[in-house]
């Protein structure tokens, strides 16, 4: 295998995108088949590259140290493999789910383009190249959201674009600072201590990374997109691809580019962001009445764990964060897909209208249940493992508050999934939806695959931890530090795990209490918390998007624009249009008045002029 092979994961999906885009809308089956086949090819590429560690391709691009520089090593090959896996699952799923979509042509085009850009971003070994692919994803995200075809789709798409743009521009600034201070753009040559400007660079680049991952406060487009975008998009981008990319970059920032010290200010900032994201998003998720929206808030909340884990800067925490990333991608993808499956059959995702679908859609229900338990951190699923690692990491930093926040998150995660599962698949059969049946195999299959993976990664956690995660951390730990996290990862018998299990029990209690209080209506199980006096107000405000930084930011932008326009631009124009003219006209008017046509007047000027000239000349001659 030569270095040019590295181009394939980028070029092939891009070419596939173009071909799929060019197939006329009339032709039906060919497109789906081609798409699945292409994704299989990509998956193959992923596997084959995974087996090839350490390849790199450097060619001249823009000059000035901006090279077209691709590098494959253990971390990127791992992410590449994960990405291609998800691409395959999504294609499989979309083959049925999206086949009647009016703009299906564009859909596949964007999906494969996104895959190409993501692969490029992962492989890039030059910051500019990274930004190129990274930011290009904004366009595919934008385009895919508009495919939701809802009236508000475009608004949400723009929202994602602007938020993403903001984050990416921050990253660009950070990269600029890094470039200015190190003089190179090659990623594997950079390793600096985050002091002074470098610290600013760290924060700016971090914003780019967590913005892509969808952490607070850059998450607000995701819940909107849950309703406005196609559900496969939700599984595709926010649930899997963007998390993989964002956390990948965050990990690289903290591990490679900067020397992040345990408990340093920057680490604490990261942890605060992580903890806040966990808690706040989960509280929002808890009260949602829409299946997809609920999931979307969890997609945000879980990012918190990853950031928290990485922010600990302790090997186990970092490993937990990264492991959580891949785990989350799996189960959240599975969850969205199962929500999509429900929507596919019933046409709705409102919790209120659904209920008791487990009998008609058993496989979907099974997949959902596994994934939901995984996300809630139930032993022995993968979510449990990664969360435990994060808890350990957080405790080791000496700031137990972050662990507590994570546990609080765990409580309400489980509570909200109990509510969701209860109201969708279990409980009484709802009368609002007609009788239905299980979705087609291409829809169910990905869900089940993901569920199976969740179990596998949980039970055989050694496998992923040793194959994927450990190599990443090698070289970043001090000599002698053990890298075998499996030892206490799956152990139920330590205090940390005990607290986690306690949390699950509390969550169960909360759900049952709420369910009882709300007249055995599962979808109202969160109402007692929703209606708590202090919280109620906050919830209302956040429903009104008061806490949405984007909405406030847009208001600010509009206000600022008005100020700039009214108080700078218009006055300048007024100066030219009115003031200059008026001054001119005033002088002209005075002079014209003076020319009154009277001969004596004119003669007086002449004689007066003579006198003045004589006087001046005589004065000057003195």
């Amino acid at each position: 295998m030569t270095a040019t092979t590295l181009l394939w994961p980028i070029v092939f999906p891009a070419a596939a995108a173009i071909i799929l885009f060019l197939i006329p809308s009339r032709i039906k089956v060919v497109r789906e088949v081609l798409a699945v086949l292409s994704s299989l090819v990509v998956l193959y590429l992923g596997f084959s590259l995974f087996s090839q560690k350490n390849l790199s391709l450097v060619t001249d691009w823009l000059g000035m140290g901006i090279n077209f520089d691709l590098r494959l090593y253990h971390f990127s090959s791992f992410i590449l493999l994960a990405l291609s896996g998800f691409l395959f699952l999504i294609c499989l799923y979309s083959a049925v789910k999206m086949k009647d979509h009016p703009r299906v042509r564009e859909y596949y085009g964007y999906v494969f383009l996104a895959a190409a850009f993501s692969n490029g971003a992962v492989l890039a070994n030059n910051f500019i190249l990274l930004v190129f692919f990274w930011e290009a994803l904004l366009i595919t995200t934008y385009a895919l959201i508009t495919l939701g075809l809802k009236p508000t789709s475009h608004r949400t798409a723009v929202k994602s674009l602007i938020i993403g743009g903001f984050c990416d521009f921050s990253m660009i600034l950070g990269i600029g600072l890094l470039w200015a201070s190190t003089g190179t753009l090659t990623m594997d040559k950079i390793h600096v201590e985050p002091h002074g400007l470098a610290a600013a660079a760290f924060i700016l680049m971090m914003i780019g990374a967590i913005g892509k991952a969808g952490a607070m406060p850059f998450h607000t487009w995701i819940p909107d997109a849950a309703l406005d975008a196609p559900v496969s998009f939700m599984a595709f981008m926010p649930a899997s691809f963007e998390k993989l990319l964002g956390i990948y970059l965050l990990a690289r920032i903290t591990l490679d580019f900067f020397e992040l010290k345990v408990g340093s200010t920057l680490a604490i900032i990261l942890m605060i962001i992580g903890a806040a994201t966990i808690v706040l998003a989960v509280f929002m998720a808890l009260i949602q009445k829409d299946f997809k929206k609920l999931l979307s808030f969890h997609a945000v909340s879980q990012v918190g764990y990853m950031i928290l884990g990485i922010g600990t800067a302790i090997p186990i925490g970092i490993a937990g964060g990264i492991f959580h990333m891949i785990n989350h991608a799996m189960y959240k993808c599975g969850l969205f897909l199962s929500a999509g499956s429900v929507e596919h059959r019933t046409g709705t995702t409102e919790l209120k209208k659904l209920g008791g679908l487990s009998r008609e859609m058993p496989w979907t229900a099974l997949g959902f249940t596994v994934c939901a338990l995984a996300i809630s951190g139930v032993w022995p699923l993968n979510g449990f493992v990664s969360k435990e690692m994060v808890f350990h990491g957080a405790l080791e930093t000496g700031y137990p508050i972050f662990a507590i926040a994570a546990w609080v998150g765990a409580i309400f995660t489980f509570a909200s999934f109990l509510k969701a599962g209860h109201s969708v698949f279990f409980g009484a059969r709802s009368t609002d939806v007609p009788k239905t049946k299980e979705s087609e195999a291409p829809i169910v299959l990905p869900i089940l695959i993901l569920a199976a993976l969740c179990i596998t990664f949980g039970v055989y956690n050694k496998l992923p931890l040793q194959t994927f995660i450990q190599p990443i951390l090698e070289g970043h730990v001090e000599a002698g530090e053990h890298l075998d996290f499996t030892a206490h990862a799956l152990s139920l018998f330590n205090p940390v795990a005990a607290v986690s299990i306690l949390c699950l029990i509390i969550a169960l209690g909360i759900h049952l209490y709420g369910w009882n209080r709300s007249g055995k209506k599962a979808y109202l199980a969160s109402e007692p918390i929703h209606q708590l006096p202090g919280l109620r107000k906050l919830y209302d405000l956040s429903e009104a998007r008061f806490f949405d930084l984007y909405e406030q930011g847009v208001k600010l932008l509009q206000w600022l624009s008005k100020v700039l326009f009214r108080f700078i631009d218009r006055p300048i124009d007024y100066l030219y249009e009115k003031v200059v003219t008026a001054v001119g006209r005033t002088f002209t008017g005075i002079l014209q008045k003076a020319h009154n046509g009277q001969y004596a007047n004119y003669l007086a000027w002449t004689i007066g002029g003579l006198v003045v000239v004589i006087w001046i000349i005589l004065q000057l001659l003195k």
Partner: protein
Amino acid sequence: MKVEVITLLTIFIPILGSLLVPLAGAISPKLRSFWSVLLGGITACLPLTLIPQALKGGEIIWSKSLALGLDFILVIDPLSIFMSIVSSFIGFLIIIYSLGYIHHEDNQNEYYLMVILFIGSMMGLVFSASLVFMYLFWEIIAIACWRLIGFYRQKDYILKADKAFLLTFGGAVVMLLGFIVIYEQTGTFNLVAMRGVAISGTAVLLILFGMFSKSATVPLHTWLPDAGVAPTTVTALLHAAVLVKIGVYAYARLFLYTFKIPDVWQQAIIIMAVLSSLIAAGAATVENDFKRILAYSTVSQIGYIFLGLSVATPTAISGSLLFILMHGLAKAGLFLCAGIVLHATHKRDIREMGGLIKTMPVTAISFLICAFSVIGLPPLGGFFSKLLVIMGTVQANQVWVAALALFTAVLTMFYLMRVFAMVFLGELKIAAPEKTPSMVGVVAILAVLSVLAGLFVSYPMKLVQMATTHISWWLK
């Protein structure tokens, strides 16, 4: 052919040929169209033959001595070749677009005459290495613009044309004063001979008047939004491709390639540029007139170009030069899209439009692509230029300026998406079909070029690199 001959032909074929346009028009409109396209085509092709020379680097000087030392001097170097290629090519596209856009209006003779004269003078300006002749071509362009802005002959349109002419003329004569101050210091108008001369702050200030007024930079920018009364082809030509780049080019030619300016002024220009960018972006967000928004957007983007040139790191300079190309393509595309929309709906207020994507899909997609390019999203061309400018700015330790510039980029995204949403999405208010193929075709070509320029950015970048190393010779 020798390089000098090609250059002279590039300048004088369109200038002299334009004078024959009315004659051709008197014979038949077909002949006129043919003649105009031919002239445009020749002008677009000739500079392409200079590319090998540009890639070779170095410069060729040709001069003809005239009275009082006001010599006519041409400089053929990568910078001038790059500028000439960009301007003449976009000019050519606009002539083609005009065939459809303008074909049932009055005064077509004058229109084509002025457009081609404009392009020819632009070539002259770009290749001139004498301050006086730069100014001379500068003003010929102003005359052409004035006639073109007032093309529709409405009373208030002509007022705007006069405003534009007066403001740019005013700026330019003040600039001329600056040139003369320099002449007084050095005793020559020859730019090549003056290389490396340190000039006074007064001269810089005076010259800036000219550059800022021509390139519509705050606070001398307000003529540009008003000039939107011109036919859209003209605004595209004026705003996007050529006219506003003149000031920028002059900056590169004078303040980078030739003179050394005081540091205080350099810093001041940096700040003015970024503020201009921000203010115009703000105005663009508030405006509701389609073309005015685009015009303000131009003002805003020009701020970036000035920013890149004024921070004067190689990265930023090459970013700015690339910006000239990318912004030229994308903004011309945006304006021409606007032209199609306005031509079809006869409305200018975006609040009265909506849902046009249904009736004019190609236009809408082209608009979106060009808008993304202007915003600076990859893989479109605009990404690289903006990125390099920002990077260069950071390299020059102007972190806050870079941050402000990026903030402006967010604002840009905001208002351009607003325009797109209001014009092309939502409820269909006026069902207007797309017009002639030549118009839609040109728009589509520009959109495709924006994409290609991004994907194959390394090719124009080679030229830009040559130009950058050429003009930043003092870095060695």
